[in-house]
Structures are given as structure tokens and as C-alpha cells.
């Protein structure tokens, strides 16, 4: 499982260090500056939760993605409380993991958050809750605004359906209807349809990406 993961991540251009137990992981985390850590909850010697608590206690702010076992509905809250930034339930699609670590690795620090996000000719003002494209005001429903904001924050990167469900709708389960697809399609109709270059792209087998291809 771990070696498979390491290989796949390397194929996607990441530099990966791997340790098979919690104590070695702790040593690695303390010694190097990583962009992101993937921590399994079940580790020999020092378990994942204790590991992250320890590094957070030592003031190490590397973003942490927890891997948890199937059905562990309490693990997410525990993981986030321990100082984790995201979680993923095993088994997962590799595309999901990749999208999430990309999102974590380049997450801007909260302090220098800008009130206005911009991509190409699309601009959203987080304070005034206003969206403009090519100088034209676009009216969005609150949930559409939230969806667009999330896409803008992760502009240029793939966000998966699950990431959207968790972060935009706070759904920590898989709905049986096309919630994400419907809202994406509504959003597209408003911000892309009347403009020459579409910004919302569907990434097959992975999710969506907001990017300027022109």
C-alpha cells in the first residue's frame, strides 16, 4: 500500500520520503521541511494521532493529511482536533489523494488572505460577496458563491467531487443525487456560458478545475 503510493506520487513529480513507523516518521518530520505529510492513523510504535499532536506541539506547521480506515466516522473529528488539515478514508482513489495533497501543499496561509480573488477576467470580492466577469456583475446564490469561492481558492488545481461535498456543503457522505453536478452546471451557466473562454473544466475521472486555458 505505502510503496504503491510512493511510486504513484513520484510518477506525478513529487519527492517522497516514506517511513514505516510513527517514530521514524516523527524524526523525518522534525528534520526536514516538507510541503505536506500523509499520516496513517494506524502506525506501529507511535500512532498517527500522537505523531501529529507531537509535531504540532513542537510548532511544526507542515500540512497533514490523515488516512483513516473505512467507516471511521469519528476519526475525522479526532484527526482535525489533533492538528490534521484534511482526512481521507481508505480505500480511496489515487486521484482523490493527489487532488487533496495538491490542495494542501499550496494552501495559502490564512493571514495573507486577500479579500479579492481573481482568475483571468473573473473576479470575486469576498467581503462584498460580489462576482464580476469581464466587468459585468454576476448574481450568484449563496451556495453558488461558496462553490465558486472554493474553486477560486484552488484555481489551477483539480478539486474532486468529495472535496466539494465536504467543503462547500459539509456533506461527509456520498449523496445519491447529482448535487455537485447540478450546482456546477448552474454555476457554469452563470459565469461561463456568455463568455468566450470557459473557466470551469471537468477533469475526467477526478473532478473539476477552475483554470484559464487561454
Amino acid at each position: 500500500m505505502a510503496s504503491h503510493l510512493v511510486k504513484s506520487l513520484q510518477q506525478h513529480g513529487h519527492v517522497v520520503d516514506h517511513s514505516a513507523d510513527g517514530r521514524d516518521g516523527l524524526v523525518l518530520a522534525a528534520g526536514e521541511t516538507y510541503d505536506v505529510m500523509i499520516v496513517d492513523r494506524m502506525l506501529p510504535r507511535v500512532d498517527g494521532l500522537a505523531l501529529v499532536k507531537t509535531i504540532r506541539g513542537a510548532g511544526i506547521a507542515i500540512p497533514v493529511l490523515f488516512l483513516t480506515t473505512l467507516g471511521g466516522i469519528d476519526s475525522r473529528v479526532e484527526g482535525l482536533e489533533a492538528g490534521g488539515d484534511d482526512y481521507l478514508v481508505k480505500p480511496f482513489a489515487f486521484a482523490e489523494l493527489l487532488a487533496r495533497i495538491n490542495a494542501l501543499a499550496r494552501r495559502p496561509p490564512l493571514s495573507d488572505e486577500k479579500p479579492v480573488l481573481q482568475l483571468a477576467d473573473l473576479e470575486i470580492d469576498l467581503l462584498k460577496r460580489r462576482v464580476m466577469r469581464a466587468g459585468k456583475r454576476i448574481e450568484l446564490q449563496p451556495q453558488e458563491f461558496k462553490l465558486l469561492e472554493y474553486l477560486m481558492r484552488h484555481a489551477g488545481r483539480v478539486v474532486t467531487r468529495t472535496m466539494l461535498l465536504e467543503n462547500v456543503w459539509d456533506f461527509h457522505f456520498d449523496p445519491q443525487t447529482t448535487v455537485v453536478e447540478t450546482h456546477i452546471s448552474r454555476l457554469r451557466a452563470k459565469i461561463d456560458r456568455e463568455f468566450p473562454t470557459p473557466l470551469i473544466h471537468t477533469v475526467r475521472g477526478a473532478g473539476y478545475a477552475l483554470r484559464d486555458d487561454s
Binding site: L70, G71, G72, I73, D74, V77, V89, P91, A93, Q141, P142, Q143, W169, D170, F171, H172, F173, D174, P175, Q176, T177, T178, V179, T182, H183, S185, R186, G205
Partner: protein, 440 residues
Amino acid sequence: MSTGLLFGIVYWIASDFLLAQARIAVDSEMTTMRTASRSGTGDPLLSAIAERQSLAGAAQFYYGLQNPDGHLVGGNLPVVPQQAGWQEFEVPVGTGRLKPFEGRDEETGTLLARVHLLADGRRLTVAIDTFLITEAQEAIVRAFGWAAVAGLILALLGGVALSRNFLRRVDALNRTVRAIMSGRISERIEVGSTGDELDQLGQSLNEMLDRLQASLEGLKQVSDDIAHDLRTPLSRLKQGLEATLRVDADKDVYRQSIDEAICQADAALSTFGALLRIAQIESGSRRQRFVAVDLSDLLTGLAATYTPVSEDSGRALTAAVEPGILCQGDRELLVQLFVNLIENGLRHTPDGAAVAIGLARSDGDIVATISDTGSGIPIAERKHVFRRFYRLDASRNTPGNGLGLSLVAAVAELHGAEVQFDDNHPGLIARVRFPGQRRS
């Protein structure tokens, strides 16, 4: 211990009483003597002593009259007191000494004596043999000794009988447990009518066994369901992959086949996930994380989320939500509860149906309703819909794992809420009633 204490108290009180009685007897004898001495001839005291000595009732008394120089001049006192007042003398038993009594086998006895200094300088002594007091004390000791021995024997016999009875019952209990362990799961422990601790234990064990058997049957039901409901998609997956492997296909066909296989595996995994999630919710540990959840806000949000979804599927969604209703709960799970009900309303109704979300206070309870105008659930099936993997015949062809309402039931139970399905004339109305919740 308590017997010993009782013995001590009885012994002490009895000795004290007997000694006091002896002193009173001596005193009254002394008074009698002195009274008698005033009305006699010659030496009235000497004749009084002689007279008293000859009386049968005075057998236990000893008398003595001493000259001022200390010599005994009368009476039968076997010792020569040296001073006046109360004193005790240890005197050998025998002729001319202490009188033998029946059963007296000690070689010495104790005299309790009172020596009185008379006006003419002589000393008059009245003494009493304390043998009877000692005898009474010994009788008490003996009585207690026998009582102790008898008590011990009785206790031993009772103990043996009790423990044999106890062991016999424990043995019976043990046999039943072994029978259950060997697979006769419906065996129960025989409970007597005395209602003692052992009977109560048996009762508790039987109740525990009932519950274990129920959950075992539940578990068996689930594993049967899993076997039934997961075998189908897994064998379909396997057949699909085998079929693709048999034909010499190009890359695109393989890719499509693998995609389908992944989809089917995902469906099986999500069923597993849902089962585990329900089991975890049912364990109740989530209750520790309860916070105040704004149900009004939650349902308004869900209405906004599902309005476009329902429009796209040709259904109408409306919401009538009373603002500011809060309850203690787990937001994440409550979201899933209502999403499952709303999605059921959207998925199991024909095109053009209407789905309504409602939230209101009613008789102090909070009642959330999700209603639709579809075909509803037949009354006979309403009690089954919460069962895992149970699906109405009408919805067999709609995708789904048959766990949605099981999860709804589990989440409601966790929140102490009640879910009820009724006829919406036409359609179905689901009521989730949170009883007696705190108000905002």
C-alpha cells in the same frame, strides 16, 4: 466476636451483682448480730454468735469475736483478722476450716469478711464464703462454653448445608453456560423462586443472553443480507472482467471495462462503508460530541441545495421552515438524515411530483417533515423500511443500497428522535420528532 463481648458483659454484670449481694448479706448479718447482742445474758455477743451459728440458714456465714489484744474468743472464723473494714481471706478447705459444699473440690476458698471495731475495743467479724459466687461465675462460663460449642456445630452444619446447596446451584448454572457455549443458544438458566442473589444473577444472565441472542440474530440477518446483497455486485464485477479478458479487445474496450469494474467495486465499498457507519452510529459514541444545532438553518440550507437538483429532475421542492429552532445533536449526522429523506422523496417519486420540507414546534416537540406526492409506502411495509437492505419492490430498479432509511433510523435513535411514516394523500410524509428539546 459478638458472643465473646456478650459473654464478657454478662459475666461482669453477674459477678458484680453477686458480690454486691454478698456484701449486703454480710452487712445485714452484722446488724442482726449487733442487735442481738444488746439483749442477752452473760456476754450477749458470744451467745448470739453461738445462736446464729446453729441456724441452718447461716451455714455460709462465719463469725469471729476478738479481744482487744487480737485473740479470737468466740465464733468459727478460721482466720485472725488484723484490722477493721472489708477484707478477703484465702482459706484452706477442710475440717475446722471452710465448710465443704457439694461439688466443692478446690483446696482453698475465699472469705469475704467485714470486721467491725466494737465500742469496748473488741472486734466482731462476719464473713461469707464466696464459693457460691465463684460457682455462679463458673456456671456462666460453662453455659457460654456450651452455647459456643453448640453454636459452632450448628453454624458448621448450616454452612455445609448452605454451601452444598449453593454449589449445587452454581453447578447447574455452569452446566447451562456450557450447554450455551456448545451451541444450544436458546438454553436458559433455571431461576428459583426465592429471589436471592443467585436467582437474581440467573435472571440477569438470562436477560443478557436474550439480548445477546437478539443481537446475534441481528448480526446473522446482516451477514445474510451482506452475503445476498454484496454477492450479486461482486459476481457481476467478476463476470464482467472475465468477459473482457476472453475477447481480444483494444485498449479503449479494456479501459471501459476497468472503469465499470471500478464503479462496481466502489458501489460495494460504499455499501460496506454505510453498514459500518450505521453500526458506529448505533454504538452511541457520537452522543459525546453533541452541540446545539440550528435545525432551521440546516433545513433552509438543504432546501437551497436541493432546489436546483429537484428542478433538474422535473420535481418541485418547497420549504416551510420556522426560524430559530435548535436542538442538541450531531450536525453532520443530522444533515445525512435529512438528505436521505429528501433524496428518497426526489428519487422514488414520478416526474412532476412535489417534495416539501417542513420544520415547526409542536406540543413542545420539534417536528421536521419531509413529504412527497409519490406513491407512498404501503402500510404493511412501513415497519420494515428501516431494516438494513430492505427495499420496496417498487424501488428495486432505482439505484441504492437499501441502507438509507436504516441510517435515518440509527441517527434518529442517537438523537432520541422518532421517525414515522404516514400517508400524505397522496404520497408519503416522514415525520422526525425530537421530543422535549431545548428551545432557542
